[in-house]
Amino acid sequence: MLTVTALSKRYTPDKPSLEAVDLQADVGTITAVIGPSGAGKTTLLRSLNQLLKDDEGQVCLDDVDLRQLSKRDLQKARRNIGMIFQNYNLIDALTVLENVLHGCLGAKSTLAGMFAHYTAEEKQEALKLIDEMGLSDFAYTACKHLSGGQKQRVGIARALMQHPKMMLCDEPIASLDPKSAQMVMTILRRLADDKGLIVVVNLHQVDIATEFADHIVALNHGRKVFDGVPADLQAAQIQAIYA
């Protein structure tokens, strides 16, 4: 379970990016974070795996406060947290298989990681994940030749290679066409249901959030302005969030 308590972050003293945000996400659920640009969605997401150091509060994953961990322990803890990005952040020159295998680099020794020494089981697992993402025909294709939707699925497969407990998705469908967006969100839904992952996803599309998420959190000017199930989110509230 992910529990965020009173998380605050200020880039400038007078303007908070996050102000005492609380959040709870259960195993096997999707939590959608919505809100206008600059509301603090990305800041919140990046604080959850401490890519961004917040100022105050607690971020507990399975009762371990990530903010209190040493650098080395945080690096270990991050292996439990997969992350996918709006711009995919793959190595375009490498093949789909090589990119997916990068997901298990964190669990390797420095030397094995440097020389990309992967076991036969790891390669098999990567190929299985590629197949699950519907990309088996592209396993040996360089990522620069893939479409946006395909790249995002490679990103998901890479994150899954980590065997994460939690998946953070920073606007994963913002650069995709509606069909690819539906496909990516369906995959995330399946991961939450079948693998019991905690999925936290930043979204701009309220309709997608209500369709796929179990739980919606809305931010505005760094403050939480809504926290509940999609059915509770009324048109007037949506208008107020984006006003």
Binding site: I91, H102, L105, A107, R158
Partner: protein, 276 residues
Amino acid sequence: MIESVSMSQTPTQKAPRPVNRRTRTLRAFVTGLAVISIYGLISVLPKHFDLWTATKVFGANLQLMFFSPNVGNDSHLLLMQALFASIELAFVTTVLGAGIGLVCGLAAAENIAPRWLSLTTKSVMAFVRAIPTILWVLIYSVALGLGPNAAVVGLTFHSVAYLAKVFANTIEEIPAQTIEALRAGGCGLLPVLCQAVLPSLASRLLSWTFIRFEINFANAVVVGAAAGAGGIGYQLFVASNFYFNFHEVGMIVYYILAFVFVLEAISTKLRHKFID
């Protein structure tokens, strides 16, 4: 009234564009440079200098060099051996320079290394680069004696500084998110460098290394003559300065040109292979 005046203006009657301060400064600078250059040229020429005769002699020498080249007192085998010695020197110094330059480049890249390390490395490399290669070779000649050892160390020294600079600039161009994506998964710095940074930049790093190889080959020819490092440069020096044999000079220049063309062809092919 104002309208009628502006309407009646035709393109040929345009008012001259006002000359701003920047343009005036630029014009004054260029004029000053031209005056200094002309004065310098006139002052360095000897009094008995005859441009027409000089041009004729120059043309005749070029004709000797390029239309009737031969090996003079040497042999093709000797010149080939000398050429390969220079290639060897360029190759060794480029490989060493690229290896050490890559480490220094990573230490100098602001998106990888801590700021203090990046600044220190950049400053040291800038100092090394500011002194020409030939001077480094001569400086090392004092410690190691005239010959190939000083040439290898001197050329490598400058290659490291040059490649560290261009490698660091190339590494700094890599999107921060690409590195962040792996670090977010708990990946350490060294695996990130080997698995994310280097594969993303391999073609560009190779390109720069090839450019440095070309520079090092030219430098190897120069230090062969000037610092006694041997190779084709030494043969060129002996043929031109001791024997005044322009036929042999021409042959040596053809050898060098042939190698430069081969190098260009290989580099183009490799670049295409890596980029495609």
